[in-house]
């Protein structure tokens, strides 16, 4: 049970003067329940890759299967669900309920079951069910994002794929999103996040994939990533590296703020700084 990408290549505008190679012989697998972070610069093929996961793009060569089903089969779209960048743009329903129920009703869910699915999805993203009667256009930007996320969660996916989910969010909504993702992951859903800023989601990830010019430059655990990749690194890790250079003896394979705080205060105590509290 996994998403399997085998030797996939993809070219935009194939056979024209504007031909652009986006993916070059990429192989990757995402196990069920895994939290995967896909990083890479703008234009490295991240978005093209995830569009293959739910069959929006068909591989020009190679094969993509989701839980054993070929991605060209439309059934994969309810298993691997993709939330686009700036998803608040995609809302269209008269009410929030209409919009969130769009996905599941496309897959034949009706009546009470549909009702329950929508309310559950709204609760899961941290919205009160009272918003379901409002127009999505009357909500704030952050809430619209939450509704859009609920709209894909209502499809009850096995794999949730998010394209740059944190871009343009304020810190409050960002931490809300991160905690929602953490919660979803703990219920057994695979979360695949694409971001050109690897840092924010680093503490949540179990596997990190780095794309460069359409091919995979690195796959492995976050710890392996810190050991073998020189850039891009999380800010916290960069700070620890700088501190090391400045003569503090701290570990530089740390990427979460809490661990860094602990490490730095220990180093300071060793240097003879008195500790209060």
């Amino acid at each position: 049970m996994s998403i399997d990408v085998r030797n996939v290549s993809f070219c935009y505008n194939k056979g024209t003067s504007l031909e652009r190679r986006a993916l070059d012989n990429v192989s990757l697998s995402v196990e069920k329940g895994e939290f995967v972070l896909i990083g890479g610069e703008v234009g490295s093929g991240k978005s093209t890759l995830i569009r293959h996961f739910n069959g929006l793009l068909k591989p020009q060569s190679g094969l993509v299967t989701v839980s054993g089903i070929n991605s060209t089969n439309k059934a994969v779209r309810s298993k691997a669900v993709l939330l686009m960048q700036y998803p608040q743009k995609q809302l269209f329903g008269k009410t929030v309920f209409d919009d969130v129920s769009f996905g599941p009703s496309n897959f034949g869910l009706k009546g009470e079951a549909l009702n329950k699915r929508v309310i559950d999805a709204l609760n899961l993203v941290g919205l009160d069910h009272s918003v379901s009667a409002l127009s999505p256009f009357s909500l704030s930007g952050g809430q619209m994002r939450q509704v859009a996320l609920a709209g894909v969660l209502a499809m009850n996916p096995e794999y949730l794929i998010l394209d740059e989910p944190t871009s343009g969010l304020d810190p409050e909504n960002r931490s809300l999103l991160l905690s929602t993702l953490k919660k979803l992951h703990s219920t057994g859903i695979s979360v695949i996040v694409v971001s050109h800023q690897v840092c924010e989601l680093f503490p949540l990830a179990e596997k990190v994939v780095l794309l460069k010019h359409g091919s995979i430059a690195f796959t492995g655990t976050p710890a392996e990533y810190l050991r073998s990749v020189s850039s891009p690194l999380p800010e916290v890790t960069l700070l620890m590296k700088e501190l090391n250079k400045a003569g503090f003896n701290v570990r530089d394979d740390i990427f979460s703020a809490d661990a860094a705080f602990h490490e730095i205060s220990n180093a300071l105590v060793k240097k003879g700084v008195k500790r209060y509290g």
Binding site: Y12, N13, G15, T16, S17, L18, R51, N54, L56, K74, R77, S78, V81, L82, L83, M84, Q85, P87, K89, Q90, L91, F92, F102, G103, P104, N106, F107, F137, G151, V152, M155
Partner: protein, 265 residues
């Protein structure tokens, strides 16, 4: 991908370097010739002119094939209507449908006229960047007495370039929305009405927001329609004059027989 329809392809060629006004006038004259063409001889001549232009514009033939392809259905209907509903010598009949010789000739000529109109238009758009086309049209508009009714040609030009600027944005937006709704299980072929609503509503909403942003950005940079200059300085070079000479010969060749009273239909 279908986004190459009537798009600009930057290459360095004689046609690309021509003044946009020369090309716009050329397209106008070519359109008149094409619409006047009523015999295979004339259509062949037009084809000949097109092939020469195709050769000197250094663009792949596929680009032009692609600009005709979206209209194939329209051409087919156009041809069939002429084929079946023109009266004359019947050469073939099937139940109540009959094909006449005249219909076959007329259908072919009319269809070819539209094909060539489209091909010449795509020759203009492929060799001239949108902003240059706008600059060219603006300079033509300046000749009209629009000032007296309170419209400046700058306003027109700005409206044109803004709509050209929005076309690709609109298309990008459309594509991402289509992908988003397909990801949520929309089947465009099975449920076209649902598809129209779920894509057009957010498309209009985002476009209105986009337009407002652009208007605000123009306001904040003190846009006023008067006294604007263009980034491109248009000037006629030797090659432009040569083209006008060619226009004169070709155009008079096509229109002369009519003056003389030969009307070939």
């Amino acid at each position: 991908m279908d986004d190459l329809f009537l798009s600009f392809v930057p290459v360095n060629s004689i046609l690309h370097r021509l003044d946009p006004r020369t090309k716009i006038i050329g397209l106008m004259l070519a359109s008149i010739c094409i619409l006047k063409a009523s015999s295979f001889m004339e259509i062949t001549l037009i084809m000949f002119v097109f092939l020469i232009l195709l050769f000197i514009c250094h663009l792949p033939v596929m680009h032009f094939v692609r600009s005709v392809r979206p209209m194939l259905l329209f051409f087919a209907i156009l041809f069939l209507v002429q084929l079946f509903f023109t009266e004359g010598t019947v050469i073939f009949s099937f139940k109540w449908l009959s094909v006449s010789y005249e219909g076959l000739v007329l259908g072919t000529i009319i269809t070819l006229r539209f094909v060539f109109l489209l091909l010449f238009a795509s020759l203009l758009t492929a060799t001239t960047s949108p902003s240059r086309i706008t600059a060219g049209i603006e300079s033509f508009l300046r000749l009209l007495p629009l000032k007296h009714i309170g419209i400046s040609s700058h306003d027109f030009a700005m409206m044109m370039s803004l709509s050209i600027y929005f076309a690709p944005l609109l298309y990008d937006n459309f594509r991402s929305l289509r992908d988003a709704q397909i990801s949520r299980g929309l089947d465009i072929k099975k449920e076209p009405v649902k598809a129209i609503f779920s894509i057009s509503i957010p498309l209009v909403a985002t476009s209105v927001r986009r337009v407002e942003e652009v208007a605000m950005a123009m306001e904040s940079r003190c846009y006023s329609g008067i006294g604007r200059t263009s980034m491109y300085v248009m000037e006629f070079r030797r090659m432009d004059y040569l083209f006008y000479l060619l226009y004169f010969f070709i155009f008079s060749f096509f229109t002369m027989p009519y003056f003389k009273g030969y009307i070939i239909i």
